[in-house]
């Protein structure tokens, strides 16, 4: 099922969770070792199930760890030793991984962390969707760190963004988080598995065992030697350098999808993940009616497409941020929108809006 033998158009029916593993295999392409370390948790467990079977065939290693803390630490180590290093979890596991994510950013280990979001907080609704971890993905560790977060909205895009996550993590030597939600993780869609070039190790990176004899530490360290050096000047240089990796390349990293004419829109519906499928369905329903509504779907949730938002900001324009949380990404729009208005359309989890509910909200605004 993993490889398409019968010709290009043969499609396989897989879930978003399955697609994560397929994306990893594309990134490894039998050239790189994949190390998957994880701990079972609904609704992400199927990623581990598939990884435990498929990775071995691709020269990879699957290991079930004792907890999520161990999982993220293991992949931080594996990332420094040259592997495509990945873990998958859901909100509660993500919370446990917070320290490890900051550590991976500090030691510049290229890791991939998948969060299949459930209804939250706490144990919440393990088998039902949520999007309440968007701010956690941005800030959920102590200190400032560069953050790259991708949010797919289909099975096919999950595969492609897993591949992209591997690529970005190597390019910027930084953790990349892939935010699915329960709907995307469990939904099945037919896709064809693409042939993609394997992602090479970043040639500028030091790999354990290759004779570099380097030291990495979570302590504040010198930029060149990576040795601990605890003073305000080193701290200033180090943290700024880390942050700049993403800040200065934001326009290269950021991806989004639009539907309808943004420039003519009176209402721009901002969305991401599974919720965006309702938004698009709603917009298709009114496509003949010349209503001035368009969609902006964030594929990269972090860094924020600040320049784009500022460019779109205009008097009398309303940004309706539709998300399954209490307005987490809406906060970002409120930060940058100075002339127009920002409204939220929110559910607390368990389901996405129906296209009908989206249209109602739009009609209230127009």
């Amino acid at each position: 099922m993993t490889k398409d033998k019968k010709g290009d158009n043969k499609r396989v029916l897989i879930t978003g969770n399955d697609a994560v593993v397929e994306g990893l295999c594309c990134a490894a392409g039998n050239k790189r070792r994949i190390v998957y370390a994880g701990y079972p948790i609904t609704p992400a467990s199927e990623i581990a199930t598939r990884a435990s079977v498929v990775l071995a065939k691709h020269g990879g290693t699957f290991i079930q760890m004792e907890d999520e803390i161990a999982s993220i630490q293991a992949i931080s180590g594996a990332g420094l030793a040259g592997a495509i290093a990945v873990t998958a979890t859901s909100g509660p596991g993500m919370s446990l991984m917070s320290e490890g994510l900051g550590f991976a950013a500090m030691i510049e280990s290229p890791i991939i962390c998948v969060n299949v979001q459930r209804g939250a907080p706490s144990t919440g609704m393990p088998t039902w969707m949520g999007q309440g971890d968007m701010m956690q993905a941005r800030w959920g560790t102590h200190g400032d760190r560069p953050v790259i977060v991708l949010v797919p909205n289909s099975v096919e895009e999950t595969l492609l963004l897993t591949y992209e996550a591997c690529k970005l993590s190597q390019e910027y030597l930084n953790p990349v988080t892939l935010m699915l939600d329960e709907i995307i993780g469990h939904m099945e869609e037919p896709i064809s598995i693409p042939k993609l070039p394997p992602i090479p190790v970043n040639p500028d990176s030091q790999i354990i065992g290759n004779g570099h004899r380097f030291h990495r530490t979570g302590l504040t360290h010198d930029l060149e030697s990576c040795l601990p050096s605890i003073n305000p000047e080193t701290q200033e240089k180090l943290v700024r350098k880390l942050l700049d990796k993403v800040k200065k390349n934001a326009d290269k990293i950021i991806k989004y999808e639009t539907y309808g004419s943004l420039s003519e829109a009176k209402v721009i519906i901002v969305c991401y993940g599974s919720e965006s499928r309702s938004v698009k369905a709603a917009l298709k329903q009114i496509s003949g009616k010349k209503m001035k509504v368009a969609m902006l779907r964030l594929i990269t949730a972090w860094p924020t497409p600040k320049d784009l938002i500022c460019k779109l900001d205009k008097k009398d324009r309303i940004f309706l941020v539709a998300e399954i949380n209490d307005g987490q990404i809406k906060i970002e729009f409120e930060r940058y929108i100075k002339k127009g208005d920002v409204e939220g359309l929110n559910l607390m989890g368990g389901r996405i809006h129906t296209p009908g509910e989206i249209l109602e909200a739009v009609e209230r605004l127009i």
Binding site: N9, K10, L13, R33, V35, A37, V53, L55, A56, G60, T61, I63, Q64, M65, E66, D67, I69, A70, S71, Q73, A74, I75, S76, G77, A78, G79, L80, A81, A83, A85, E99, G100, F103, I107, I183, H186, M187, E188, E189, P190, I208, G209, N210, G211, H212, R213, F214, H215, R216, T217, G218, L219, L227, P228, R277, A281, K284, T354, P355, G356
Partner: protein, 466 residues
């Protein structure tokens, strides 16, 4: 002496000197013993990695001129495990203190024994948390004074050797920083052991000595400790206040033969040949169709849905489709539904709002919804009359086509209840003719558990013949 002439110079990170340890701290001796062991064994330093956590002893990793990671508090073992999995040729050693490895990292210490990977764990036991001013830790002796137990430690100490033995470490030994030759021997044996190795190294901390009015733990270790060839159960116990301390190797065994998880060959199920069903694909003419299959967990609702979507794809490979399953936390007995959307265009909203075809295998969902059956007024309902209360259908519009079949009863009488979904599928195929018969049969063969294909096909035929 110029540091570059030091016999250990090749393995010392000179730019990190001087070290941060208190004068009189003996952790440095353990670092030296490690270098001795690596040199003695002739290991290629490029293939040796050290990983440490947080604490005084964890700083060793930074002073060694090897690939090293100074990780977070307590997490050296999993970090090292990741390194080892990424490159199994490396010799990976974990350096840490008692608080780091046995306290905050205790779960990882236990798990490594079970994982059985070839890592060397060097646990420097100084009886407490030294870097933060000496608070009590997992190995602090009963009655010992620390900054958080000024009246004497009221807790029973944990015995690292006993735990390592129980956890399944294949090499377990105790030494002290006062017995450098013995320590080097232990390190060499640990490096040679192919499983997880654990060495407890007792090491004096000035802070502990001062607070407990011990003049010199170093001298005390030399006085009280005996190196023994063979050790017994009684030798496991020790603490800084005990009369005797036994040093030596408690276990040096081979790792039992077991296949590494990721490289174990997938076990092939012995199944008979799958029956072959050939089918012809064609343009289905479906523009947009919503299908819902609902029932109770355990009735094969998800399986039935999968058969349906696979069948649709068999029939018209160009069709776009989505399948979503909804069920509560309980896998059996709770309400359960599968939503399928088939469309000539990409599917956006993946949930079924108003089904064109509703397959009901129990009334649970409808009852949860307050008794209302939702279906397109020109749609079709197929119900299992052996499990659904027929009065639920009373309020449906006349235009809705209703078909009833005692699927569960037929399955129970002729096969097994689990194939009721395929009896249903056969009947749906016949009555609705949405999807070609052979396309469904091929889908059944694909999703049936190996060995049950024939029974599932027979159940389908039975439903089709009704």
């Amino acid at each position: 002496m110029d540091i570059s002439q030091h016999p250990y110079a090749e393995l010392l990170r000179k730019e990190m000197m001087p070290n941060i340890w208190c004068s009189g701290c003996r952790i440095g001796r353990i670092k030296n013993a490690f270098i001795e062991a690596v040199q003695h064994q002739g290991y290629n330093p490029d293939k040796c990695a050290v990983v440490s956590g947080i604490g005084c002893s964890s700083r060793i990793a930074g002073y060694l001129n090897l690939d090293g990671i100074h990780s977070t508090h307590g997490r050296a073992i999993p970090t090292a495990l990741g390194v080892k999995l990424a490159d199994p040729e490396l010799m990976v050693t974990v350096m840490g203190g008692d608080g780091d490895i046995l306290g905050i990292g205790g779960n990882h210490f236990l798990a490594l024994g079970r994982h059985g990977k070839d890592l060397n764990i060097i646990c420097m036991n100084n009886y407490g948390y030294s870097m933060t001013g000496f608070q009590h830790g997992p190995t602090t002796p009963f009655g010992a004074k620390t900054v958080t137990t000024s009246g004497g430690n009221p807790y029973a100490p944990l015995n690292p050797i006993a735990v390592a033995l129980a956890a399944g470490y294949t090499f377990v030994a105790r030494s002290t920083s006062s017995h450098p030759y013995h320590l080097v021997d232990c390190l060499v044996s640990a490096m040679n052991n192919k499983g997880p190795s654990f060495i407890e190294v007792l090491v004096p901390c000035m802070l502990f000595e001062r607070r407990n009015k011990i003049k010199s733990l170093d001298a005390l270790f030399l006085e009280k400790a005996t190196i023994k060839e063979t050790l017994s159960q009684a030798d496991i116990h020790q603490n800084a206040f005990s009369e005797e301390i036994s040093l030596g190797v408690f276990r040096d065994s081979q790792i039992p033969d077991r296949p590494a998880p990721a490289f174990a060959k997938a076990v092939k199920k012995k199944a008979g040949k799958k029956p072959r069903v050939t089918f012809k694909s064609k343009d289905s003419g479906i523009d947009y169709m919503q299908i819902r299959m609902e029932g109770t967990g355990g009735q094969g609702i998800v399986q039935g849905g999968k058969t349906m979507i696979n069948a649709a794809m068999n029939m018209d490979p160009k069709l776009n489709s989505t399948l979503i399953k909804r069920y509560g936390p309980e896998m059996k007995g709770g309400s359960c539904l599968t939503d399928i959307v088939l469309s000539s265009q990409p599917v956006d909203y993946p949930f079924v709002e108003i089904p064109d075809l509703l397959i009901m295998m129990s009334g649970l969902i409808t009852k949860e919804r307050g008794g209302k059956v939702i279906v397109n007024e020109n749609g079709t309902v197929v119900i299992d009359e052996s499990t659904v209360d027929l009065s639920l259908l009373d309020d449906l519009a006349d235009t809705v086509k209703i078909f009833k079949v005692p699927a569960t009863q037929i399955a129970r009488e002729n096969f097994r209840v689990v194939v009721a979904n395929n009896v249903m599928m056969g009947f749906v195929c016949k009555t609705t003719s949405i999807i070609d018969k052979n396309c469904i049969k091929a889908a059944i063969v694909k999703s049936a558990p190996p060995g049950t294909e024939e029974m599932n096909l027979a159940a389908f035929e039975k439903g089709y013949e009704l």
